[in-house]
Subunit: 378 residues, 2 copies
């Protein structure tokens, strides 16, 4: 399992707003709409199968801001539209929340033709997608991501899951959405910390698959941080292009798709060790990318300049670059339970150079050295 | 969605014991081994991918009888082999049990390459399959069914699920096993009530897809009830042939496969209304088939002789033919939540004639009449 990324570069030009990006997967393809104000436009949902029941899943933070507009829009298309509001936070990404969604579906008279809508960030999207995967062995769902992280990453590709005390996303399913509505207007109310966390995944795409995009992010970082509309549209659009191409070539992550986990082996360990919800996922990934780039360099991959560019960009974005003060042994133990682990030897996404990655097992001693050099306790 | 069954009839001749029946599904096919003593033979598992960790899932009834033999056999192939013993009964077919399986996998150091083994009846098989579907978004599992019902039906075809208070199997996944080991020797210790419950599904195959098989069951029923080895091998083998052909033509039940739910719309309502575990699944299906045959007759399908043959065979097998004394309204309400329901109108598998079925919605008044004529309360 050692592949280089070679997604198509086609869509790098042209306007980034009002774009429709196709994700070609085995069963059926679907579109990602990157636009502004699309959430509340009925025509956005015109391609969906007709249905009797729609249930919108959101959280206590997002629902008051956006649910009414979505519900009003869906009422033109579905006979019964209801809303279930979950608590906000990674710590609620559990089976209990999936059961609340199932209960809401049944209360609404839901059946196999019902459609779920995920209105929120990655947690809402993963929970809603997993509920859709499990309810009556699979119903339709639509992603309406309202965070930058969800728009560029978690809403696309059909990975759904809940957490387990021993590791993130240990329980889940591959289940593709019918549509992804990336409405940039919803980012207006996003807290700055969340925006920055989303930039971690944007940087990731550049680092593992597209040097030109990495250059572009370096150049436009200040615009992105002050939410310039054209810059955000470019970042979301290009990230979705790259993700769509990678997912299309490897839907179930038997090879290439694993490079999208760059920084995530370290990141998941940080999240698990600090308790889900204390570090944001993107923050843990940001720090994880710095460590993974350093690990790559020590293994003879990316050169020192490249590794430093990753660390600099992560730091400039305002993401953490040092580990929390946790024992290295604890982090190592948690990596053993990461999904990329096979036969006990943790595997890492490594950079050969900026824009090119592969996956390989790494000997524990070397991982420990990297942990210790980036703030872990002996 | 109204299709007639046309599975291949090829394997009706030839020895029924020592057979290897192929199930051709999209991702990968797999074998059903129908044999005697195969559970404890290492070569049975020779086709499985090598793995570090194997976890056998069983229940408190079956484990003391059979687990040691299976574990000893698997220890020749896997580095770490462990056993998780669940409580026995339909009422334990819940998410809590899935979590126990996941915890056992993690405790054993399980990862994506681990394999689960379901040693037991339909409940163990459905739970284990669903745990395998969800753990790290999908790992391998093997069915080792030890009841007649599981050997002829639930272990084949990749339907996995847990129950919800509002309906059976409302939460689940399609996830095909790597292998099904139908060892007829395991039926030796099966309580007679369980054997009879399994015959309900055997009768079902004849009724919906194979008149010659239905004739054969009528002729060999007494042999089956006294567990004649050759008769049991014939019943399991032919049932698996039919199921394999139907599953191969419609893995996700978008059409033909639904005919295998003959008797199940009524049956699931009976199970839900009486509380899971009071009637065995096969008993509820047996009674459900009598009602569904009567419903078919009233709708101009099967003739009176045919409907009576179904009822007679169910009764001769020792299965219930009358509903428990429950209000018809309660049963009707429960059918609204059955997975075959679409847009509120419950759908039923109806017999056009013996050996030929289709699926159609049925007007509630007619269903109510059938319920009342078969023992439901007004």
């Amino acid at each position: 399992m050692s592949e280089a990324a070679a997604p198509r570069q086609a869509a790098a030009t042209g306007p980034a707003l009002g774009r429709r990006i196709r994700v070609d997967v085995a069963d059926r393809g679907y579109d990602i709409l990157v636009d502004s104000g699309s959430l509340a436009r009925p025509e956005t949902y015109a391609s969906l199968p007709a249905g009797e029941v729609a249930v919108v899943v959101s959280n206590a933070t997002v629902a008051p801001l956006l649910a009414d507009r979505l519900l009003a829009c869906l009422r033109q298309r579905f006979r019964a539209v209801s809303l279930v509001v979950l608590d906000d936070g990674e710590q609620f990404k559990t089976w209990d929340s999936v059961e609340r969604i199932v209960d809401a579906l049944l209360a609404a008279g839901g059946d196999r033709r019902s459609t779920l809508f995920a209105l929120g960030g990655g947690v809402v999207g993963d929970l809603t997608g997993f509920a859709a995967a499990c309810f009556m062995r699979g119903i339709a769902y639509v992603q309406v991501p309202t965070t930058l992280l969800a728009q560029v990453d978690s809403s696309v590709g059909g990975k759904t899951a809940v957490n387990h005390p021993l590791g993130k996303n240990l329980i889940g399913a591959f289940h593709q959405p019918r549509l992804v509505v990336a409405d940039l207007e919803t980012l207006a109310t996003l807290p700055q910390r969340e925006l920055i966390a989303g930039l971690a995944e944007v940087i990731k795409y550049g680092a593992v698959a597209d040097l030109a995009f990495f250059d572009w992010i370096e150049a436009r970082l200040d615009d992105l941080l002050r939410r310039d509309g054209e810059a955000l549209a470019g970042a979301v659009s290009r990230s979705c292009d790259l993700k769509a191409a990678i997912v299309a070539s490897d839907e179930k992550e038997s090879g290439l798709r694993a490079i999208l986990n760059f920084g995530h082996t370290f990141g998941h360990a940080i999240e698990a060790a600090t308790g889900y919800g204390s570090w944001l996922h993107g923050e843990a990934v940001g720090c994880g990318m710095v460590l993974a780039a350093d690990l790559s360099r020590r293994l003879g991959g990316i050169d020192e300049v490249g590794a430093r560019r990753v660390a600099m960009l992560v730091e400039r974005a305002g993401l953490p670059v040092r580990l929390p003060p946790l024992p290295a042994a604890e982090l190592l133990a948690l990596m053993g339970h990461d999904k990329k682990a096979e036969g006990g030897a943790p595997r890492f996404v490594l950079l050969d150079t900026l824009g090119r990655a592969r996956v390989a097992p790494v000997e524990e001693g070397l991982v420990r050295d990297v942990l210790l050099d980036h703030g872990a306790l002996r």
